[in-house]
């Protein structure tokens, strides 16, 4: 079975008699729990057909529709969602896809998680904390396992480094820890680039530490940067650093995507023209597996809101229409793309009466 608790999509998870085995804390909670969420129109409980009709009514009258989310849905749902967006000229907004865009544009070098396990000797966790977001990354790929060319694993063959705004849990296992000052990410990169060119950096950061870090990165045979997708570092600074690193060393970047299938939607939307409607100007916002109001205050949404989600969310409490759906890889099958771009089939783990978001989007598409 495959766990869709995070973008690692661990394929070794098992479920016996209601007990989840080999999943992490997030995976276990994701597979075992599903909150009560009812189909609703105008905050009144209705049947599924009425909720879908309610959504159709809003979509058919929308002049400036915006779709948000898509990162927590199976690839098939995303494909149907894109077709629906094209049909009604809706804008699709996904978040935290900047690094994936740079990978898809071949601006930065990347690799697979299997490559990391087999070859990586210097691993940098840049503004990310996998111990809290992708808990099995270190044990399955990045640090602890023996790989083809890394038979001695973390004890001798791998150096882990954290560069972050705080001393994270992941930092506690790293040989080198560098703290970035909030808002001064680009200065840190400039200083590091100076260090890579054997220059003493003009910086407020500890020069000795920067030179030591530059030395470690230069010696890497196969380096990997795991980059937090919510990182505040400007994208152009990341590209500049990767270019400089690859002049003196061999470095790859992998985005720590927050949604289990964010990589897939980013790839599908890559190079696609978008109507570019602003969220605040939208007269209809469709949230697909995404809790918009968790990050955007209610008063900033001016349009009608439709929520399609397996769980009760803040957005579902304020939405005009709520359509509950099955969770991808738990009570509905499909496919997804792992954070490193590898496609993974998602079998269904358990039966439920809920219909999939792909089926809901299909019904909306056909009726529109």
């Amino acid at each position: 079975m495959v766990c869709t608790g995070c973008a690692l999509l661990c394929e070794d998870v098992e479920k016996y008699d209601g007990e989840v085995r080999d999943a992490c804390r997030i995976g276990t909670a994701h597979i075992r729990n599903r909150q009560q969420i009812n189909p609703m129109v105008d905050r009144k409980v209705v049947d599924m057909d009425s909720a879908i009709k309610g959504a159709l009514d809003i979509l058919s009258h929308a002049k400036r529709p915006v779709f948000v989310g898509f990162g927590n849905s199976i690839t098939e749902t995303q494909q149907t969602g894109i077709r629906l967006a094209e049909k009604i000229d809706a804008s699709i907004k996904t978040f935290h896809t900047g690094i994936i865009e740079n990978i898809l544009n071949n601006r930065v070098k990347t690799c697979t998680l299997s490559d990391v396990r087999d070859y990586a000797d210097v691993i940098v966790f840049w503004e990310c904390d996998p111990m809290n977001t992708h808990p099995r990354l270190l044990s399955k790929y990045a640090y602890y396992p023996r790989g083809e060319k890394r038979q001695h694993g973390w004890e001798e063959d791998r150096i882990a480094i954290t560069i972050d705004l705080r001393y994270s849990h992941t930092a506690s296992i790293c040989r080198e820890v560098h703290k970035i000052h909030p808002g001064l990410d680009a200065d840190f990169i400039d200083a590091l680039i100076d260090g890579l060119h054997n220059k003493v950096p003009k910086t407020t950061y500890d020069k000795k530490q920067i030179l030591k870090l530059a030395g470690t990165l230069k010696k890497a045979e196969f380096g990997v940067i795991f980059a937090g997708t919510g990182m505040t570092t400007p994208q152009d600074a990341i590209i500049r650093l990767m270019d400089e690193l690859n002049e003196v060393s061999n470095f790859h970047i992998l985005p720590m995507t927050p949604g289990y299938n964010l990589r897939s939607i980013a790839a599908q939307l890559h190079g696609r023209a978008d109507s570019g409607i602003d969220m605040h100007e939208a007269d209809c916002v469709l949230c697909l597996g995404f809790d918009l109001l968790n990050s955007l205050p209610v008063h900033e949404i001016n349009g009608k809101m439709i929520v399609i989600d397996p769980n009760d969310t803040i957005s579902s409490r304020y939405a005009d229409v709520v359509i509950p759906c099955a969770a991808g890889g738990v009570d509905c099958a499909g496919s997804a793309v792992r954070m490193d771009g590898v496609e993974v089939d998602l079998p269904r783990i358990m039966e439920s009466e809920r219909i999939s978001d792909a089926s809901i989007m299909n019904q909306l598409l056909e009726a529109m």
């Binding site: 705080r166 968790n294 769980n311 803040i314």
Partner: protein, 128 residues
Amino acid sequence: MRLQFEEFLAAPECKIMIVTYPDIFQIEAKLKYGKFSREYQDLSAIIMLDSGDLKKIGIKDGDTVAIKSEGVNVVVTAKESEEEHPGIGYMPESVWSNILGVYPVSATVSRSQQEIPAIDELLSRSVS
């Protein structure tokens, strides 16, 4: 209700930069009990502060603080960090932190005697 003398005094403030972080236990509580649960709120409506900053605003670990940033006011529990990070407050990623704006956020933090609002209440009264 009996008024206390401190309520007539302006609580000392401390300027901080707020940075968010992920917490696996909070993510687990969200998946297990939901975003409207007490378990999720207890792990979300918090700010980790430097011990020196706690002293500056005259509070101790576990007291409530008001965080103000550009007209938005959020009340959360203050926790004392083991490491030193003067002028920086760490908050778990949640609606309590996101409502303050895009990170890193400049804010002021001060002692508060208000109760920590539940999500519904927070969303309705966050803009003051």
